[in-house]
């Protein structure tokens, strides 16, 4: 078979001792390991990647950025992070793959489901629609940043109390949108206002009733400055 013969030569077989192809990748692993961020999710494998791609952002800090990449600084959940990213890398991938913050989900990748909602300088955005390079210097909050000093955020407590999820895939996005909604004084406080403001976040499991209840029950705690 032609196809098969052709492939024999091209396929590179797995060599567990082989180093990853990209030097920056090696570097990334070192820094990511040292940053402490990766620890919570540290898997059993000795070397890991979440999407294993040379397109992924690097978090190296000493050498100049690799060709075609740009160095940006993000303050993510209160921690300064330097990343070298290609200009076409979207913020969602930079967070998930570069910083291994996989709590933020990709639902549609087209700005239409809200699963990837995060806060940038306090405003909620769909991180799948935004290029990472445009966020140099920005302050970013993801679901991983909600907990403070081991204390759950009032919204997290409210979502728990009201069972505001089923499969849980939309939950991070719902909570981040909810946080922005509760902190926005221009948005009214009635259920109808919450429903209107939250309508960019699809929950395919239909846990909406509990989501509204959770958001409303967290309102005073969030507004009260406990957030």
């Amino acid at each position: 078979m032609d196809d098969r013969e052709r492939l024999e030569a091209e396929v590179s077989y797995y060599d567990p001792t082989r180093q990853p192809a990209s030097p920056s990748r090696r570097h990334f692993l070192k820094t990511a390991g040292a940053s402490g961020l990766a620890v919570a999710a540290a898997p059993a494998l000795s070397s890991v990647s979440y999407a294993g791609s040379p397109d992924d952002p690097d978090t190296q800090t000493d050498a100049p950025p690799a060709e075609g990449k740009q160095r940006i600084t993000l303050v993510v959940n209160g921690q300064r992070q330097q990343l070298d990213v290609a200009p076409n890398v979207i913020l969602l991938d930079a967070l998930r793959h570069g910083l291994q913050l996989t709590g933020t989900k990709k639902g549609c990748d087209h700005g239409q489901c809200g699963a990837c909602t995060i806060l940038v300088n306090g405003t909620s955005i769909n991180s799948c629609l935004s290029l990472a390079v445009t966020h140099d210097g920005d302050e970013i909050t993801t679901v991983e940043g909600l907990e403070k000093d081991g204390q759950q955020h009032p919204l997290q407590q409210a979502f728990l109390k009201h069972d505001a999820y089923q499969c849980g895939y939309c939950t991070a996005g719902q909570m981040m949108s909810a946080l922005a909604v509760l902190q926005d004084d221009d948005i009214g406080t009635r259920d109808a206002d919450v429903r209107e403001a939250m309508s960019g976040n699809i929950c395919r499991c239909g846990a909406y009733k509990n989501i509204v209840a959770a958001i409303q029950s967290a309102r005073s705690a969030v507004k009260g400055g406990k957030a």
């Binding site: 492939l7 396929v11 999407a51 989900k105 499969c167 395919r204 909406y208 509204v212």
Partner: protein, 799 residues
């Protein structure tokens, strides 16, 4: 193990309730087993799992043509593209090339024949996903296009079927029609539905040290994924291990249709010796995978002056797409539910699984049941209009009742009183008649805005109609610190199955829920499992887990009777202790102490559990039997307001009363009812699948395919679980399945829309309203009605 752990140390896991202060009454049902993980973002879905750094990423080349012969597939440029490591076509599959789940017909990669837009032609593994995607675009594909069959009715007429038609019949339906006081007939189109599980199809395949693979997948049916991978690779099943931790939604869309992607990833992993990740981009996911079957239904039914059905003929035609997949059972289930909660009298029900050049339509919550119910619900409304009665009156007269309690497929309906009770309680609780009057008054003085109201019941059969699937296994371990691990064949997709199964084990062993843990579903722990589908997850797997727990419990009782010299008959497990006697004579042995003693006493602390549903049988040759162990019931009242000049409408209030027997977990069950209703409402109202004339899906993203948002939730939405009515069958603690039945409660929304529309012609016409009842369809229906002359009553079918 040389020494046993010191039980006085606090356990490492989640803290258990202090058993001595634990309340005597039944504990509060636990929330979702992954609750904390969900709100902290730590719950890992497929794409969140780490993989070796050199993992490859897959993109699939899809057919741009609905039907034709593949004349050229030149992948040279694809192979040369940067980052590409491997490219496969059908000739590279070492084993079976067909991954059809029940019947053959689903090529993993197209051979010469192309049968739908989105059919996988080849797959590319590259060092990153973008490289794989770019490479796919370089393929030279030539297809000699042929005319595609995209019309299921035409296909049915041309006898183009994926499986032969099936008939269920009771009594002499022709005679019933001939002798009926009234006969009506109508047709309807019931649209399909995209699953839009928020986590798309995804998997991760890791080659193992011999000839096999370990595959993590987002699938409702790991055993089938295992089987198909083994067949594709040409290896024994034991070389393949499939693991499912959780899914970000499934709804039936991952029952069979997660398998092809896992097979491709596994094959590429074997060929390259590297880990392979695969995740379908949303657009590809929507184009390449099957959906809920669209149905074309017809009825011709006779009824008496009271509107009570005497018999007739119903035909349901399912648009199955290009291959059988699960369509035979899906069309069967549509037939099994063509009566919903009503006795059809002497009736014939025919199901036709039509073949079209679409992706193979597949399981989706309700599995054809909802589509089947739609036809009889249409008939109920139509009869009411014809006789000038309220639709609720007609529905109540037709509900199964003693004397009229055998279905057209021969099953006896046991809980007829329950059905009546649900309807009449909801009728009262929702204030149906007062609202009916108010709405009539409102509509009489409101020329444009019209309100509608409808109460529809649900009777849904529980069991897989393929008898052999009604079995389940479980594996229970008790470790020497007393902690318990339970595995079972069911998968978690958000329905709270793991929570419920954990509860069962805790209850049988008298432990706190936190003492029991469930890990991922794995084919090397519990083999030969059925899909988590047909609402059966808790019924089957809960029973299997219970069986395992009971075995270990019996062993522990035997041991304790001998070891502690206790009266065997008086031993019980409660609040984390083994207990004998009462009051002053009570003796307690702490659970951990008991387990350590039993271990030292060489008692096996592990068991496999098994369960097979009793009583069920169905004979496809006669179309008769008892396919369902029991029925789950419910009813909903929906109110809508329609702008009849624009077609825009709102669902303003919904009241639901739903039967889950003795609920295993009221919070989870209520969530299932609410979520099922919302999803059903989307199916019938806004979720419109659109194809162009060549069979290309136009609604391929949430921008063009409208899923209910939080803003579409009825502002007044009241859901109650029926209490005090345990299952009449000996199901798991007399509970009832809850996954699918509530979905069909949403038919009340559609019926309420028809109610509002028919007010335009003084409730005397039977408006046609195909689904989804988009504002556009509602508007057209309103325009049609306005054209109906005031005096004309709809013609009765001549007999």
């Amino acid at each position: 193990m040389r020494t046993l752990t010191d039980l006085s140390r606090p356990p490492a896991g989640p803290e258990t309730t202090d058993r001595h202060t634990a309340p005597a009454e039944p504990r509060q049902a636990p929330t979702h087993d992954s609750a904390t993980l969900h709100v902290t973002g730590r719950a890992r879905y497929l794409d969140d799992q780490p993989a070796p750094v050199d993992a490859l990423h897959v993109a699939v080349g899809l057919s741009p043509t609905a039907r034709g012969r593949l004349t050229q597939l030149n992948l040279d440029a694809v192979r040369r593209a940067p980052g590409v490591v491997d490219v496969i076509t059908v000739v590279d599959i070492p084993g079976k090339t067909d991954v059809g789940p029940v019947f053959p017909g689903d090529p993993l990669l197209a051979d010469a024949e192309v049968r739908y837009v989105g059919q996988p032609l080849f797959a590319v593994a590259a060092t990153d996903f973008k490289a794989a995607r770019r490479a796919v675009a370089l393929a030279e594909v030539e297809i000699d296009a042929q005319p595609a069959q995209l019309d299921a009715v035409a296909a049915a007429e041309a006898e183009e079927w994926v499986r032969p038609p099936h008939v269920q019949q009771s009594g002499n339906w022709q005679q019933a029609l001939a002798g009926a006081a009234h006969v009506l007939e109508a047709e309807q189109f019931v649209g399909g539905q995209e699953h839009f599980y928020l986590e798309g199809q995804a998997c991760l395949a890791l080659p193992n040290e011999d000839d096999g693979v370990i595959v993590h997948t987002s699938s409702q049916h790991p055993s089938e994924v295992q089987k198909l991978i083994a067949e594709v690779l040409g290896v024994a099943f034991h070389a393949v291990t499939v693991e499912v931790r959780r899914m970000g939604g499934g709804f039936g869309g991952k029952e069979t249709q997660a398998a092809p992607w896992a097979c491709l990833a596994a094959l590429l992993a074997r060929r390259t010796g590297r880990a392979v990740r695969m995740r379908l981009p949303r657009g590809d996911d929507m184009r390449a995978t099957g959906k809920r079957h669209p149905f074309h239904n017809r009825y011709r039914l006779g009824f008496d002056a009271q509107g009570v059905l005497t018999g007739g003929d119903i035909t349901v035609i399912g648009d199955c797409g290009h291959s059988p997949d699960l369509s035979e059972a899906i069309v069967d289930r549509a037939m099994f539910h063509a009566d919903n909660a009503y006795s059809l009298g002497d009736a014939r029900v025919t199901g036709i699984p039509a073949r079209t050049h679409n992706p193979s339509n597949t399981a989706f919550r309700g599995f054809g049941g909802p589509q089947g119910m739609m036809i009889v619900e249409r008939a109920m409304d139509d009869i009411a209009r014809h006789l000038g009665e309220d639709p609720l009156t007609i529905r109540k007269r037709n509900l199964y009742r003693p004397g009229r309690d055998v279905t057209h497929y021969g099953q006896h309906v046991e809980q007829t009183a329950l059905l009546h009770e649900i309807v009449s309680r909801l009728e009262t609780d929702s204030d149906y008649w007062a609202r009916r009057d108010a709405i009539r008054t409102y509509n009489a003085s409101s020329p444009v805005l019209k309100k509608g109201l409808a109460l529809t019941p649900v009777k849904f059969g529980i069991s897989f109609t393929a008898k052999h699937l009604n079995q389940a296994g479980a594996l229970l371990h008790i470790y020497t610190d007393g902690s318990v691990m339970i595995n079972h064949g069911g998968t978690e997709m958000g329905q709270g199955l793991h929570t419920k199964v954990g509860q069962v084990v805790a209850r049988e062993l008298g432990l706190d829920n936190s003492a029991v843990r469930i890990s991922a579903t794995r084919t090397d722990k519990v083999p030969n499992t059925s899909p988590t589908a047909a609402s059966s997850g808790a019924d089957l797997n809960g029973m299997a887990a219970r069986n395992a727990a009971m075995q270990v419990r019996e062993r522990l009782f035997d041991f304790a009777a001998e070891h502690y010299q206790f009266d065997r008959e008086a031993i019980r497990l409660e609040n984390g202790d083994l207990v004998v006697g009462h009051g002053e004579n009570e003796h307690r042995i702490a659970w951990g102490e008991l387990i350590q003693a039993a271990y030292l006493g060489r008692v096996s602390l592990s068991a496999t559990g098994f369960y097979a549903t009793p009583l069920i049988h169905y004979d496809r040759t006669t179309g008769q039997g008892r396919p369902f162990y029991y029925y789950a019931h419910g009813a909903a009242v929906s109110e809508v307001i329609v702008d009849t000049l624009s077609g825009e409408y709102r669902v303003t209030r919904v009241d639901i009363l739903h039967d889950v027997g003795d609920s295993l977990n009221p919070a989870i069950d209520t969530g299932q009812v609410e979520g099922g209703f919302i999803q059903g409402m989307g199916w019938l109202t806004s979720e419109e699948l659109k194809w162009d004339a060549t069979g290309r899906l136009l609604s391929d993203g949430p921008a063009t395919y409208k899923i209910p948002t939080i803003g579409d939730t009825p502002p007044d939405f009241c859901v109650s679980l029926l209490e005090g009515h345990p299952n009449s069958q000996a199901s798991l603690y007399r509970s009832k399945a809850v996954g699918e039945p509530p979905f069909m409660l949403a038919i009340s929304v559609w019926s309420a829309l028809r109610d509002a529309l028919s007010s335009l012609a003084d409730y005397r016409v039977r408006p046609a309203l195909d689904t989804p009842a988009t504002p556009e369809r509602v508007l057209f229906a309103a325009q049609d009605l306005r054209r109906v002359p005031e005096t004309k009553t709809p013609a009765e079918t001549p007999r």
